[in-house]
Symmetry: C5
Subunit: 326 residues, 5 copies
C-alpha cells in the first residue's frame, strides 16, 4: 500500500495535482535541483513494490531485501542508491512481549523510498514532525533517513524502558518472601532481550558510518544528527547489555534462594518431626508390658506421661530456637 508520496522543495512540501499512487508523475514534477520525492509503502505486495522500484531503477537484489522482511539490519550501497534495513520493535503491554517488524529505506539522489513491514514504527507522524522542521528537511533525502531512524531508535528506547520495568518486577519477585518460581519469567525476558539485541547491535555499525559521514552522497551537515541517533542507539545497547547481565544475576540469586529455602524447609520439617517422635517414644515406653513398672500404678502416672511429652516438645522448641536451627 502506498501510504504517502510527496515532492519536497527547499524543505517544503510541493502541492501537486497528480494522485498519490502515481509515483512516476510525482517524481517527474521535481524539476528543480534539490527537489526530492518521498514515497512511503506499507507491506506492499510484490508487484506494487516492483512498479515503484522501476520508477527509481532500483537493483533487483535490493528490492528483494525490502520484500522479504527477514533481514539483518544493514547498510548497503547499490550504485548511487543507499539501502538501510532496520528492525522495528514495539512493546505489547498485554503480553509483556516485544514484537518486531522491519523498515527498509532507499535513499537516492532525488528520492527516498521507505518500505515498512509489521505494526511498529508508525512513520506518518515522523513525516509530519519533519515537515515542521523546514530547515532540517532542506538537507535533502538524508534528512528523511534521519527522521525515520530517529523515530525507530526512539521506539527502541521505549521498549527498553518497558523491559527495564519487567526486570525490576522480576527482581522484586526473586527477593520477596513468597515461594514463586520465577524461572519461566526470567527465561522469557532473556528471549526478548535477545530479540532486541538482534535489532540493536547490528545497527550500530551502519549508524557509525552515517555519523562519521563515511557514506557517499551525504552532506557533512547531516552528520551531527546521525551522531545524535547513534548516541541514543549506544545508550539502548548499553541498557540491553546491562539488563541481560542483571537478569543473569537475578537468575543466580533465584537459584541461591531456592537452595536457602530448601535448607530452611528441611530444618523446619525435621524440627516438626522431632516434636512428634520424642513423645511417641515416651508413649512406647509406657506401653511396654513389664510386670514391674511402678509408674503405671501411680495415680498421676498418666498425666505425668502426658506432661513429659509436652515438656519434651517444649524443650526441643526452646533448644532449636537457641541454637539458631529455627
Amino acid at each position: 500500500m502506498i501510504v504517502e508520496c510527496a515532492l519536497y522543495r527547499n524543505g517544503e512540501k510541493v502541492a501537486l495535482d497528480c494522485p498519490r499512487d502515481d509515483v512516476a508523475a510525482v517524481r517527474a514534477a521535481g524539476t528543480e535541483s534539490g527537489d526530492f520525492t518521498w514515497v512511503g509503502l506499507y507491506e506492499p505486495p510484490s508487484e506494487e513494490l516492483e512498479k515503484v522500484a522501476e520508477v527509481f531503477t532500483l537493483h533487483p537484489l535490493a528490492v528483494e531485501d525490502a520484500l522479504s522482511a527477514h533481514q539483518r539490519p544493514k547498510l548497503e550501497q547499490f550504485g548511487d542508491v543507499l539501502l538501510l534495513c532496520l528492525k522495528t520493535l514495539w512493546y505489547v503491554d498485554a503480553a509483556d512481549a516485544v514484537e518486531t517488524g522491519e523498515v527498509s529505506v532507499f535513499v537516492g539522489p532525488d528520492f527516498v523510498l521507505s518500505v515498512r513491514h509489521g505494526q511498529g514504527a508508525e512513520l506518518q507522524s515522523a513525516r509530519h514532525a519533519l515537515e515542521d522542521q523546514a530547515k532540517v528537511l532542506a538537507h535533502g533525502p538524508f534528512s528523511v533517513l534521519y527522521a525515520v531512524v530517529d523515530r525507530i531508535v526512539d521506539e527502541y528506547n521505549q521498549v527498553a524502558t518497558g523491559l527495564e520495568e519487567d526486570v525490576t518486577e522480576v527482581e522484586a519477585s526473586v527477593f520477596s518472601d513468597q515461594r514463586r518460581d520465577d524461572t519461566n519469567r526470567i527465561y522469557v525476558l532473556k528471549r526478548e532481550l535477545q530479540e532486541m539485541r538482534r535489532a540493536v547491535y547490528p545497527l550500530r555499525e551502519p549508524l557509525r558510518r552515517l555519523a562519521t559521514s563515511s557514506v557517499p552522497g551525504m552532506s557533512e551537515r547531516s552528520a551531527p544528527f546521525f551522531r545524535d541517533v547513534a548516541d541514543n542507539l549506544n545508550l539502548v545497547a548499553d541498557t540491553v547489555e546491562g539488563l541481560e547481565s542483571l537478569l543473569s544475576s537475578a537468575f543466580d540469586a533465584h537459584l541461591a534462594r531456592i537452595s536457602v529455602q530448601q535448607n530452611e524447609d528441611m530444618r523446619k520439617i525435621s524440627a516438626g518431626a522431632a516434636l512428634v517422635v520424642v513423645p511417641t517414644l515416651i508413649a512406647g515406653i509406657y506401653g511396654m508390658n513389664f510386670t514391674h513398672m511402678p509408674e503405671l500404678e501411680w495415680a498421676f502416672g498418666y498425666p505425668m506421661a502426658l506432661g513429659l511429652m509436652l515438656a519434651s516438645a517444649l524443650g526441643l522448641i526452646v533448644l532449636f530456637k537457641r541454637s539458631g536451627w529455627l
Copy 2:
C-alpha cells in the same frame, strides 16, 4: 563419479558430441573467449580426481584437500585457480540429527570443478536453476561458484529452522508440568549446534572476501550476489548463536526447575508424613498401660481416639494449605 561435464558460452550450455567423461575434450571445445567448462564430481576415487586435475593442471596440495573431505571451510588461491572448501549440512528428521558432508569448488579462468562428498547439497538442481538464468550464468565461472554456495547456504537455513523447532520443543518440555529429564536432549542439541557452528563460522571470512570482490579474477558484477549469500550466512550464524544462548538458558531453567520441584516434593513428603505420624502418637498414648486412664473406660473412648486422629490430620492439612506450605 563424474556427475556432469558441460561447456557454457554466453550463459548457454553448448551441445557437444563428446562423452560426459571426456573432460579434456569438453574443455578443448571451448574455443571462444568467455567459454568455460563446468565439471561436477561426486565422491571421486583418487585416480579419477587426479585425471581431471591433470586436465586443469591443479596444484597437488589443492587436489589433496578436495580428496580428504576433512577440511575446515576455507578459500585458497593456487596461482590463478581459486579453491573454496565448504561443509554441507542436512537435517535427518528421523534422528533429529545434523549430518555433514563437504564440497570443494575449483574456479579457474575457464573452468569450474566441484567435488562433493556426502549426501547433502544435491548440486544438480542448482545447476539446472542456474542454466535457466542465462544472464547470471554469463558472468562466467564465478556465477557457478555463487550458485553452489547459495544452494549450500540455503540448506544451512533449512537445518537452522529444524534446530529452531527442536529448541522450541525442548523449551516446552522444560516448562511443562511433567517430570522429564531434558538433560540428554539439550546436550545432543548443543553438540549439533557446535557441528553447525564449525561449518558456518569459518565460511564467513571467505564469503566476506568474495562479497567485497577482494579475490583476483572475479568481476565486480558478481559481488552483489555474493553479498546476498554473505547476508544469508550471517543470518544463519546469528541464529546458531541465538540458539546456543537459548539452549544454555533453557538448561539453566531446567536445573532451576529440578530444584524447585525437589523442594515441592520434599514439602509434600513431609506433609504426608505428618498426617501419619501424629495419629501414630495418639495411638501410642492410648496404648500405654497406666492403671488410671479414664478415657480407656469410656464407652466412646475408641471412636473418640479415632476421631482425634482424623481431626489432627485434617487440622494439619488446613494448616499446611494456609501457611503456603502446600
Copy 3:
C-alpha cells in the same frame, strides 16, 4: 543556576565589576590573547542554558546533550568547541548505595562552560584548588577541563574504596559460621558495580585521546596531566573489574556453603532421628503381647529396657563421631 563566572588571564582571576550573571560582559572583558572565561552552571533551566549557549554560539545538539543529563560519557567536537560529558558518582554511606549525576564541559578557544546535574562532584572547590596553581591554570581552558575531570575521577576512586569495603564485608559474611543469606546483598553490590562500570568504562577512550593530545586546540603541555588522570581512571576500572570478579566468586562460594551446610544439617537430623527411633523399636518390642516373654517378668526388666535404650543412643553417638558422620 550560574554558580560562578570569571575571567582568567595568565593563570590569574581578573577582578571585574560586572555581575556574575552577565556572562556576555565577562567574556567581552577578555580582550588579551590567552584570556578565557570560565562559567559554571548547576542544573540550569532550559532557558538559562540557552542564553549562555548563545553567548558562546554553541551547537544546538550539543546544548541538548548538556540539558538532558542522560548521556553516555563521550567526547565530541562541534566546530572548534569540544564537549566532554561524564558521569559523577558518589557513595551514600547511609544506604550503601552509589548515586550518579552528570557533568558536561564545553571547551572553546577562549571559554570553558561546565554544566552539572545531581549532587556529586562539587566543582567549586576544584576551581579554588586550580586558582592556587597559576602555572597550570595558565595552560588555558584545557587546564580547567583537567581540573574538573581530575576531581570527578578522584571521586570515582572514593566510591571504589567504599565498594571495596562492602565487598570485604560480604566476604566475611559468606565465610562466617552464621547462617545468613547474602544473596540479596551480593546482588545489590553487583548492580552498583554495573552502575559504576557504565560511568567509568566509556570515559576511557575520551581520556586516552586527551592523554595523547589527539584533540584539536589542545597544547602538548597539558597531555601529561590528562595522562595522569587516565592512569587513575584505569586503576578505577581495574578495581571495578576485580570487584566484579571477586563478587562472582563470593557468590559461588556462598552457593557452595549453602550446599555444604545443607549436607551437614541433613546428617545432624538423621543422627538425631536415629537416637529416637532405635529406642522406640526397643519399646515396641517390650510392648508385644506374647505370653512367653521372660524379660517381662524380671524384677529389673523395666530398668534394663531403659538402659538398653540409653545404651543404643550412646552407642550410636559414638559410632557417628567415629565414622566422621558428625
Copy 4:
C-alpha cells in the same frame, strides 16, 4: 646425543667419510651453493649443544632456549638464523594421559639444527620420509623445518583423536543409568586439554607467518606446504576448543543428572517409608487399650488388621504409580 648429521645437495644426501659427530667437518663438505647440513640432537648435554652451536655461530640466548625445554611455542629471528620452538605431544594409552616434550629447530642459510627433548615426535622417520621426496627436500633447509613441523602436528592430531575417544566415553558414562561419579575423570580431561591448548594455540601465529612467507630467507615455493600444516593445526585447535566446550556441557549434564537422581531417590525413599508407616499406624490403633473396641473380640479381627495393612500398602503403591510419583 647427536642422532644424525648429514649433508644434502639438490635433494639428495651426500655420502661422506667423516664421523657423524664431526659437525664442523660435515658442514665444511658443503661447498656448492644450495648445500645444507641437517643435524639432529636428542636431549644434548649443555656442552654438546654449545659445541654444535659454535659451529653454526648461534646466538647464546637462542641456545639457552633450546636447552631449557620450558619454552612457549615461538618463532624468533636471530640475525639470519630462525628459531622455532614447539611442544611435542603424545598420548599414553595406559594412563589416558597426554605427555609433552619439546623440539627446537634452528634454520640457517645452509643448515638445520633440531634439538629434541622428551620421548614424543620421533624425528628420524620424518627424516627418512623427507629423503624420499627429493623434490621437496631440494627446497633447502625450510623443507626440513616443514617436515619436522608436519610430523609434530600430525602427532597433535593423533592425540586429539585419543582425547575425542575419552570424551565420548565420558559422555556415555554421564548418560548411562548407572550411578557413577564422573567428576574426577572430567576434571582430568580438562587438564589434558589445557595442556594441549598450550602447545597448539601459541603455534598458530608462527605457522601463519610461515604460511604467508613473511619470514626472511624462505622461498615462496615452500609457503603452500606450511599453509597445509597451518590448516591441520587449525583443525586441531578447533577440535580442542570443541572438546573443551563439550566437556563443559557434559559436566553440566552430569550435575543435572545428579540432581534428577537425588530427586528420584528421595521420592523412592518417601514412598518406601509410606508403605511401612501407614501399617504401623494401624498396628498402633489396634494396640490401644480401650475397654470397648469391638474389633478386638472378632474372630477374624487379627487377619482383618493384617489385611488392612496390606491393602493400605498396595493402595499407596497404586496411588504413587498413577500420580507419576514413582
Copy 5:
C-alpha cells in the same frame, strides 16, 4: 633511603671518593661518554626522592608516580627519561599468601634511578650479578633496566610455582574421600591469582615495546634480552591463566562432589531408617490387643518375632546392596 649509588664506565664500576648519599657528585664524576650513574632508593621519604629527582631533573608527575606506590604497571616517556613502574610479588609460605610491592625505574641517557617499595625484589643482588657481566653492563642504562625487570619477573615465576603447588593441594583435597569444605581455600587462591594477574598482565605491553626496541634511546643490542624477559613473562601469564581456569574447574568439581556425597548420605540414611522402621512395624503388630492372635500363645512366638525382625533387616541389607542403592 639511598641503598646504593655508583658510576659505571665500560661495564665497570668506577671507584669514587664521594659519599654514597651525594648523588650529584657521583653524577658529576661521569665525564666520559657512555658513563652512567645508577642510584637505588628504598622507600625514600618524599624530600629525599625530590632531592634526587632534582639532580636528574625528573618531571614532577613522574616523581609523584614513584612516590605513591599505587600504580598500574606502565611504561611512560617524559622527555628523554623513561619511567617503568612494575609490581613486585613474593610468596609468604607461612600464610600461603602473595604480597605485593612496587618498583619504579627511571632510565635517562646517563643515569638509572630505581625506587623500591615493599619487601619483595631485593635488587642489591641483581646489581651484583649484573656487575659480574661487564659485557652486558656495557650496553648502558638499559642493561640495568633489564637486570631489574629480569629479577622481578624471575620472582613472578617463583610465586607462580608456589601457587601451582597450592592448586595441586586443593585438587588433592577436592578429590580425596574426606569431607572437607575447600570453598574458602579456593576463594583465597582466586584472590591471590587476581592479585598476580594485576601485576603480570599490564606489564606485557611495556615489555613488548622494549622487546621490539620501540622505545627511544634504547640500543638494538638490548632487544634480545628484553625479548627473553618478555617470553618469561608470557609464560607466567599463561600459568596464571591456566591456574585460574583449573581453579574454576576444581571449584565446579567440589560442588559436584558435595552433591554426589549428599545423595549418597541420603541413601545411607534412608537405608538405616528402613532397618529400624520395619522391625518397629513387626513389634507393633504383635503389640495389638486382638483376642485371637495364635502366635501370641506360641511357646516360641517371642523368639520368632525377634527372628522376623532380624530377618527383615538382613533382607533389606541384601536388597539394598544388590540394587546398587548402597
